[in-house]
């Protein structure tokens, strides 16, 4: 697969993801059903958080730190609203992106030196520390009571307090997250692919790997922060249990089961699994079983996840038989042969 077809497919997936999320704006217009609103809210928050996992997976890093940055974003918004009277949704949205991203820079300097299993472990430890810190600093975070009673967010002085407005805020935040994710993974596709494929080689070819990793980590943190804002805005409370260490497993599951090689993966994975969780809502314990089972199935049988598998089957069915097998293998972005080499093939 050449770099050009690869990036064309990636562009399509990114555009499609942004369009799908923007299309969610019709939901509050079409429906009044609070069940639908709740489901849409949960899906969009899950998808935004999974985008963060997706960005890190571009660099072959599996992060458990999503709840950490969601907590930073969510608590930033809660504290700004409660203590400083900031209610403007644009300002709060910006803060929920920028503050986690700023936190991520020094943290990144520490943890991005690690790769593979060690990175997984250090981010897992980070989320545990986040939990303990939230409980141990009641002066700031309200400790085990959390923060409640934030004023409703506003847009140009208009109060966004009812169910429909809350969903619109969530959609707006998810859309912002999607656009940022698409812009970054699109602009830096080759750089990320080089790091994913072989970091050492990329570095020796002159790529300043550290810059891109730090940038990607900060952006992923910011996108998580947006999800944290949406979650706090939906629940009307910022509480440590919303950001538990094992909730990061869910976000990873959305990205992996949906398919980690395309931006549509987190969108499909998040929507599908939240919907499945809702179907099992009366027997909530089964949804975790389902997650676990699907993770095992995806890892063993369909490594490309739902989106990748559908794409592979689609290619097999619809494309004319070609002498080379190259179109059916390697669905994950890899460091490709430069375009100039194409005539030689």
């Amino acid at each position: 697969m050449t770099a050009r077809t690869l990036s064309k497919r990636g562009d399509l997936a990114e555009a499609a993801s942004v369009v799908v999320i923007a299309a969610a704006f019709v939901v509050p217009w079409l429906s009044q059903n609070p069940m639908v609103y709740s489901l849409a809210n949960q899906m969009l928050i899950a998808i935004t958080a999974a985008f963060s996992v997706y960005i890190m997976l571009r660099m072959n890093l599996m992060t458990f730190a999503v709840p950490t940055f969601m907590a930073i974003g969510g608590y930033t918004v809660a504290i700004l609203g409660l203590r400083h009277g900031v209610t403007d949704v644009l300002l709060l949205g910006l803060a929920s992106f920028v503050v986690p991203a700023l936190f991520a820079l020094p943290l990144g300097a520490l943890v991005l030196r690690l790769t593979g299993v060690y990175f997984v472990l250090v981010t897992f430890v980070l989320t545990e520390i986040t939990q303990l810190l939230l409980f141990e600093t009641p002066g700031w975070t309200g400790g085990s009571n959390g923060l409640v009673g934030m004023p409703a967010v506003t847009l140009f002085g208009l109060e966004l307090a009812d169910n429909r407005a809350v969903l619109q805020v969530t959609i707006g935040l998810a859309l912002a997250g999607a656009i940022v994710t698409a812009a970054v993974t699109r602009t830096l596709r080759q750089h990320f692919a080089a790091i994913e494929e072989n970091e050492l080689l990329a570095q020796s070819l002159g790529l300043v790997v550290w810059h891109y990793k730090a940038f990607g980590f900060a952006i992923a943190a910011g996108v998580s922060g947006l999800a944290g804002f949406a979650l706090v805005n939906m629940l009307l409370t910022a509480h440590p249990t919303s950001f538990s260490a094992l909730s990061s497993v869910n976000y990873i599951a959305y990205a992996i089961i949906g398919g980690k090689s395309s931006m549509l993966g987190p969108v499909v994975g998040g929507a599908l699994l939240i919907w499945a969780g809702d179907v099992f809502a009366l027997r909530g314990e089964y949804s975790q079983f389902l997650f676990g089972f699907l993770i095992v199935v995806v890892v063993l049988v369909a490594r490309e996840g739902v989106v990748g598998t559908i794409h592979r089957l689609g290619v097999r069915v619809f494309s004319p038989p070609s002498p080379s097998r190259s179109s059916t293998v390697a669905s994950s972005p890899t460091l490709s042969v430069p375009n100039a080499m194409e005539p030689l093939q």
């Binding site: 599996m62 520490l110 943890v111 030196r113 690690l114 790769t115 593979g116 299993v117 060690y118 997984v120 472990l121 250090v122 897992f124 430890v125 980070l126 545990e128 520390i129 303990l132 810190l133 409980f135 141990e136 260490a245 094992l246 497993v249 990873i252 992996i256 314990e285 089964y286 949804s287 975790q288 079983f289 997650f291 676990g292 089972f293 699907l294 993770i295 095992v296 995806v298 890892v299 063993l300 490594r303």
Partner: protein
């Protein structure tokens, strides 16, 4: 002074339990290169197996503990042999698989046994009076079994052919395989040994602490902490780190209260990971 002695005893007994747990975790990483997210799940499963054996089959507790250890050993063997082994060289894939297994185990236990803690008490009760402090007998029994367990693991790893084979595989799989060692049997055996240890610990400890479907999470976090502190894959490191963590927990719980001790430990581990990823007993660890 009496408080100090009592706290030390709590720390040692916690440390012994943690050591037994962390040994399994570190063995799996050292030999297979797998971070076993299901380790806490095997601990919980061990507890529930022992509980079921005592309650529904009327077994004596000692026999129930052995059954629980054997049950978790068998499950670990089957899981490694038929699931994990297919992607054994892909770190992230094995991690996801054990995570998936953990989710299935904990929700399966929740479905079968319900969310309430069952009444599962240690058969021996009573205390030994020292000079101003008390030691519950059950803690002493558990401590004794844990120490025997730890010593047996050391014996197994350092003084038997099986242990030598495992260490050879951990050291250099390619060379060990070329020498005729068979990962197809030894990997599942190592995984089974480790999950059996987790099950044994669960069966021993849950009657004293508590038994509920979700108790695997903190157990997993503690195992992480110990194994990172001691150096991933290091058997000696895990043992020493387990006692450090046990002591730190005991003293911070008695003298500081709250979760400040846990917070300090986690921060220590974070710093350790960043500064010296190979842990306290740093020697070459597998390139993960």
């Amino acid at each position: 002074m009496q408080g100090f002695v009592a706290t030390c005893l709590i720390g040692i007994s916690l440390g012994a339990q943690y050591a037994l747990l962390a040994l399994g975790f570190t063995l799996i990483f050292g030999i297979l290169g797998v971070v076993n997210f299901a380790h806490g799940g095997f601990y919980v499963l061990g507890g529930y197996l022992a509980y079921s054996a005592v309650t529904y089959l009327g077994m004596p507790y000692a026999l129930a503990v052995i059954c629980a250890a054997l049950g978790t050993t068998l499950l670990g063997f089957l899981f490694e042999r038929f699931v994990l082994d297919r992607v054994i060289d892909d770190h992230l894939a094995t991690l996801m698989l054990t995570l998936g297994l953990y989710l299935m185990m904990s929700s399966g236990i929740l479905v079968v046994f319900g969310p309430q803690s069952p009444a599962f008490a240690f058969p021996l009760t009573g205390v030994i009076h020292g000079h101003g402090f008390f030691v519950p007998i059950e803690n002493l029994v558990v401590l004794g079994v844990c120490i025997v367990g730890i010593l047996s693991i050391y014996g197994l790893i350092y003084y038997t052919d099986f242990g030598r084979a495992l260490r050879a595989l951990a050291d250099d799989r390619a060379v060990a395989t070329a020498q005729g060692l068979r990962p197809a049997i030894l990997f599942p055996a190592a995984f089974a040994l480790a999950t059996g240890l987790a099950g044994l610990t669960g069966a021993l400890v849950t009657p004293i602490l508590s038994l509920a479907p979700h108790i695997g999470d903190p157990v997993l976090a503690t195992s992480f902490l110990i194994v990172i502190l001691g150096g991933l894959g290091s058997v000696g490191g895990a043992t020493v780190a387990a006692f450090i963590v046990g002591m730190a927990e005991a003293f911070s719980a008695v003298y500081l209260g709250g979760s400040k001790g846990a917070l300090a430990l986690f921060v220590l581990v974070l710093v350790m990971l960043v500064v010296k990823p190979s842990g306290l007993f740093g020697h070459r660890v597998r390139g993960a």
